[in-house]
């Protein structure tokens, strides 16, 4: 956290659960960010157009391409953009895979708003400074 207001971010959100998607979207918008939300990677269209994204928040378990796969592809395209991967899975395998990628932060379900908010604040600072 810094003195001034947090930077306004352009957030790309991919989450298939409707309550979660609209909940995150609404909260981020109240914080002043702008959000592009989709239910799946496939619904998002070509990623080459996503040149102005500051933060990617994606669920891991998605119909179609998984969140982690997409994160990798997105990272190759926009390596400076931080990524939050949401998952309800406690798989050691997944943990190991995420651990090897410094650009991905893991957010485990279930979480309450405060945890989410704090993480996004950190990411916003990171995005601003880094």
């Amino acid at each position: 956290m810094t003195n001034g207001r947090a930077k306004i971010l352009k957030v790309l959100l991919i989450e298939d659960d409707l309550a979660m998607r609209t909940g995150i979207e609404g909260n981020l918008e109240l914080d002043g960010h702008s959000v592009e939300a989709h239910a799946s990677v496939e619904a998002l269209g070509p990623i080459t157009r996503l040149t102005d994204i500051d933060l990617l928040i994606t669920d891991h378990q998605l119909p179609g391409e998984s969140g982690l796969e997409f994160a990798d592809r997105f990272h190759a395209l926009r390596p400076e953009v931080p990524i939050v991967l949401i998952t309800a899975y406690f798989s050691r395998d997944l943990e190991a895979r995420v651990g090897g990628r410094g650009f991905v932060r893991l957010l485990r379900k279930p979480f309450v708003y405060e945890e989410f908010h704090e993480l996004i604040q950190r990411m916003a600072n990171h995005a601003r400074h880094g």
């Binding site: 659960d17 979660m20 609209t22 909940g23 909260n27 109240l30 309800a88 379900k109 979480f111 309450v112």
Partner: protein, 571 residues
Amino acid sequence: MAMNQRRLGGLVTAMVVVCLGSAGLAFYVLYQATLDEQRHRLGDALDGQIRLIAAIARFQNDESGASTDSAKQVTLRQALDAHWRSKGFGRSGEFVLARIENGKVAFALSQRRDNVSPLPLSGPFGEPMRRAVAGETGSCICLDYAGKTVLASYAPVAGLDMGAVAKIDLAEIRAPFLTAAAIGGGGAVLAIALSAFLFVRFATPLIGSLEEIEARNRAIVENAAEGIIAIGEQGLVESVNPAAARIFGYERSEVIGRPVSLLLPPAVGEQSDATRSERFGEARILGLGREVVGRRKDGEACPVEIAVSHARAGRRSFFTAIVRDLTERKRDEAEREELRRMAEQNSRLAEIGALSAKIVHDLGNPLGGLSMQAQLIQRYVSRGESGERIVKRVEQMMSTVRYVVSLIRQFREFGRGQKLEMSPIDLHAYVEELAGVWAPLAARKGVALRRQLADGLPPLRADPGKLRRVLDNLIKNAIEACDPPPGEVRIEARMSEAGRIRLSVADTGVGVPETIRLFQLFETTKANGTGLGLAVSREIVLAHGGDIEFARLEPRGTVFHVDLPAEGPAQ
């Protein structure tokens, strides 16, 4: 083998003795008859000679003086010889005349030898003549004047003071019999020897093979893993093999001759009404694989399986009990049962573990959403907002809560097991109602919902509510599988086999991947599927005594078949 040889030797000896004995007896009887006949012939010939002597004597007296004494003698001898020869008494036959002169027996005429020296009145030789001159008449087997054993007839010659003897050597009479006996006896011995040889020759391999069979059988009995007990008619143990002794913990010698009830329950025959016989007294108790509890020497109960069979050896009948020790099997069974129970418990625990993980996962998801939505509402409210935006968030929360509730219900249902409330179902009405419920969703998704029911379906005995869950699940899956539209879902009902009704739900959808284990708990192809639907459906169908299966359809689609007994599960 040595014993058999001794037996064979005895047999041959007995045969020889019997053969020779009977042949000897036959010869003896024949010999006696011949002897009698000769005796009579000698007697007859003696009579004839004596009568001839008397006649000639009378004739010579009438012609007295006509010739000398010696001439008379010659005449008499010639007449006697001629007559005697006509009788044909072989080589040794002889007619002898003698009188007593000077206290001695003086021979007047002998055919075989001239000038026989006089014999004293007593002594072993010339016995028949001594009797004749003494006035006796008869016959005997005795020594003649030359000391030979002869068969002789003797008589006095009346009026001449003489004795006459007609005799024949006994040796001559015996000779043919001795020859015949020698030939016959030798032949018999030879024949017996040959027979014995042939017998041995042919019987030995037979005996050998019998012995081999016996040895083999003995080896089987001795080495059998099962106990084998031979039981006499009185219920006494006649023999046991080592396995039987081992099973019951006795030495073999300890049980032979003892009642079999020592080992096996006396009630073996009485417990079951299949038989009234006492112990092993009747063939009716025969049975295979009866499990009984025997008693070991140390008093321990010993579970065994017995098979009793009846056998007959000559006039004796006996029983054979084959006994298998079940102690180990029972122990193994108990162990297996324990292992199975533990495995079941473990798999139950594993299932509970999986269920817990699933609950954590599936409830975690909506909770996160709820938290976000609630936060949003709070922030809207704190900013003084009202109306549409808040209502939308609340509706979203309600919907999520409904999802959580349904999720919890499914879990509860799976964990609880299936208690069925059966009632007869009219399938036509039932399926029509079902189709009516799903028609709106199908229409929205661009799926045609059809139904096809066979005529004359009997009412199905099932739990209508539970069955409804199964069919709802299958129909919902089928409609969802038809994405993208258009598609078709068919609900069918018909008799499959005797007494069973087949309900089918077929779709023209995307099909089931090869890798998925349908019906397995938590297996799902759907992004938001719980993997509970088909697992619960299977539980319900199994509880009805039915089966659920699926098949891939050509060119595309899947069909699920639910086969249920029309009368409900067998009790």
